[in-house]
Subunit: 312 residues, 2 copies
Amino acid sequence: MALASVDLGGTNIAAAIGTADGEILAERQIPTDSHLGPHAVLDRIAALLNEMAPEGVEALGLGVPGLVNLNEGKTLFLPNLPTQWRNIAVASLLEASLGCPVYLLNDARMAALGELDFGHGRSVSDFVFFTLGTGIGGGIVLDGRLRMGALGSAGELGHQTVVADGPLCGCGSRGCLELFASAPALIAEAVRLIRMGQAPHLLELAGGDLNQVSPILMTQANDSGVAAAIERAAHYLGIGVANVVTTLHPEMVVIGGGLAQMGERLLAPLREEVTRRVKMFPIDNLKIEASLTGPRAGTLGGLALARRRGMI
Amino acid sequence: MALASVDLGGTNIAAAIGTADGEILAERQIPTDSHLGPHAVLDRIAALLNEMAPEGVEALGLGVPGLVNLNEGKTLFLPNLPTQWRNIAVASLLEASLGCPVYLLNDARMAALGELDFGHGRSVSDFVFFTLGTGIGGGIVLDGRLRMGALGSAGELGHQTVVADGPLCGCGSRGCLELFASAPALIAEAVRLIRMGQAPHLLELAGGDLNQVSPILMTQANDSGVAAAIERAAHYLGIGVANVVTTLHPEMVVIGGGLAQMGERLLAPLREEVTRRVKMFPIDNLKIEASLTGPRAGTLGGLALARRRGMI
């Protein structure tokens, strides 16, 4: 029998049916419509999975955007979902409607678990995973195991301070990495350049529509200001990466999430910044590479979590 | 038979004879006189230990200020010692003259090992150790084990960037924590205040002698500028601590080294800063405490290393 993976986001729900080997058999995406409340949304997830796998699944791995109680399968605090999502026994509610065990995990840790079981983790046992998208999350793998910390929250790498007295972050702290190297941060800088008339090529590539501006599109523009914006993001990302390398000296740093598709335009200046910052020990052997699971890290992580029956 | 512990510093050599239970039987300190070259200095260490324990010792744990090859017992790069200290087979040279096995470890990791075996590590299995002195070093303990990283260099916590475009650090990077929260950083700020006439009480406490200014003395002065300097150091230390907590979410952060003697004057504002910075998960249960091994962390770490026969 197959396994199921669901990534519950603030905007969309991404569901997949797959095997214990990480083969994806079917994928679907539906809007979260979180305003309907947790019970209605969980019913929609169950209906979707029943439709995708009418014969049922062995287990479901569910990624949740925030803090979860892993042992009790409950949500604690989900910053991007309405407050009625607090303290919901998501696992047992879904278990009742699906008839299979359900395992919860923070979505960034779930993506890291996908990379561990089906990506670089197959050849490297100590790595740090950054997932760069709307936010920046992460996961720490040491000795082949995902480090959870006391609450499954180890690896919140986007909320390291990189600018001591920087702007206020959504999390409540200041100057977090997420403010400087996430997709919204890059897009905001691109929009500023466009509005100042300094990114005519990017504007042309976007068909004159600011809604079309994305980090990937930015890599295709030949405006010098846009290139500088990418390098600035890589500079701050490099500080965050260097701090973790200085702390843990892993074998590899894996860059995942949507921004990993920027490829060498992001990775090359990132490697240079890390080399400038980590001076206490030689890092000739440190690899900084794009994720092997790419945009499927979360989906594969859900299959990994289901396959592992929640044993991380 | 007893164990020996030696902490080889750029200025002094601290030697001790003790037991596997961490009881210190004898302690001695002599100048390093590193200009004499490694062979002469190693001969002096052997002579000192033979004098302190004429009947010999079972094993020696030796802390070295820099990068070492743990398996081969060789020094690699010691920034505070002359360059002829590179690539010296310290362990085998000392083994020949002492007639017992010798185990090398970076000095900050050795202090962390002391705290692990004889300090907070007896009750806590996940902690981050900061040693604050002339420099800032550290060690990471997860699941009761000291994390070494690829080269025994994990835990270089003083070389996290806390000011993105800050001043040049001795390590070659910029804006490292060590530049803002070490003893020299605090003393420099105190001297500036004294020279500007803004720290009359501290100058009085120092007997008018700048050589007597120390972080501990600073905690006794009632000059408002001196209080602000301590809080500023705690602010930057808090950023470095918060970054590691956000990354690993340990049970405890242990503050060791000479500056730990500043007590609550440093720890209280440090805790406040960490609370301001770590917002992604609740840290009500996180403890931030002074080391239990205090100034003896390194000495006890050497005994731990000898007792463990180098197995970390």
